[in-house]
Each structure stands twice: as structure tokens, then as C-alpha cells.
């Protein structure tokens, strides 16, 4: 299998409503499984803030990411997840330039 070569990356912090982090993670995981052009969609629970999560995404291209926002599964996740979101923190776009490890 040819090694993926992501050209577009996105990371951001999202704050859930108090006590709703696990539910938000479940909704986001469900809606983001099959997105054309997506190489990685990683969700992590912030270790310092019990309501915060971090999302790190790798994509074939910025366009693939933009297109994913129109997928029914993603639209559904956004609709379900929105009431559980209290706010957003750091957000950054990046160009993946090196990747080591498994």
C-alpha cells in the first residue's frame, strides 16, 4: 500500500459543554469515518481541560477537506454536535512536511 502523502493539515481545540465531552467525541467519531481524501482524523481528550478536545486532521488536499463538509455524515455530525459545543480554542492549518513513527 503506497504511503499516504498528505498535503493539508488542520488542528484545533474544541470545548464541549460541561460533562458532554465523551458524547461529542462519539458524535465526531461516528460522522468522520468515511471521508474521501482524508488520511487521518485524530481526536484527543485535552489532559489539562476536562471539557476540551483536540482534533488533528490530515488530508490529500485543502479541497478534499472543504468538500467533506458537504458530506451527509459530516453535516449530520455537525448538526448533532453543535448543541454540545461550548466554544473553540486554538486553530491552525499546516502543511505536513515530515512524519515518523508507525
Amino acid at each position: 500500500m503506497e504511503e499516504a502523502d498528505p498535503q493539508y493539515g488542520l488542528l484545533g481545540q474544541m470545548m464541549a459543554q460541561p460533562g458532554q465531552r465523551a458524547e461529542l467525541v462519539a458524535i465526531l467519531s461516528e460522522g468522520t469515518g468515511e471521508m474521501p481524501g482524508n488520511i487521518a482524523y485524530l481526536i484527543g481528550e485535552d489532559s489539562a481541560n476536562p471539557d476540551a478536545i483536540w482534533i488533528v486532521e490530515l488530508w490529500d488536499s485543502k479541497e478534499a477537506h472543504a468538500a467533506s463538509l458537504n458530506l451527509p455524515s459530516v453535516q449530520d455530525a455537525i448538526k448533532k454536535g453543535r448543541p454540545l459545543i461550548a466554544g473553540f480554542g486554538t486553530r491552525a492549518e499546516f502543511r505536513p512536511v515530515a512524519k515518523a513513527g508507525a
Copy 2:
């Protein structure tokens, strides 16, 4: 091959001295290839700040990450890289809870 199951994640922004980003990326990539317990070590060029990079790391455990800081290759990279680093931005530890994509 069994799917890796990272229990510890770390992400952070690092600012290079002006014009030194590519050199810093090269040094970091070189020194972080073989780190026991490391599942992913991703470096991305910040799209908004020409001197900034983002590093996203996934590890078997927090202890594995701590131990890596004593590896000769990592110590060497830190020594070589330090003069090229102008500062640090956002930093967060997280527990990976979901991962989709390739």
C-alpha cells in the same frame, strides 16, 4: 500488523528564527526517526506563520515520551535545533480517543 493504540499525545507550536524553519524541520526529522514507543511524530509548517511549525506526537505512554528525551539522537537534535528556535506557542497534552482515516 496490530493497530497501534497510543495512550499519550502531545502537540505544540514552535517558532524558528526567521528563515530557519526548513533547517529546523530537517534537524527534528533526523533525530526522531527511531524512538521506542513512538507511534507518530508529525511535523507541519504553519500556513499562517512562515516561521512556525506544529509538532503532533503519539506515544504508547507518557513514560515512553519522557524516556525518549534521553536518547542520543534526540539529545543531538535538541542541541542542534536549539539555536534555530525563537520560541514556543500553544502546547497541549492529550489522550488519543479516536482515530479514523488511512
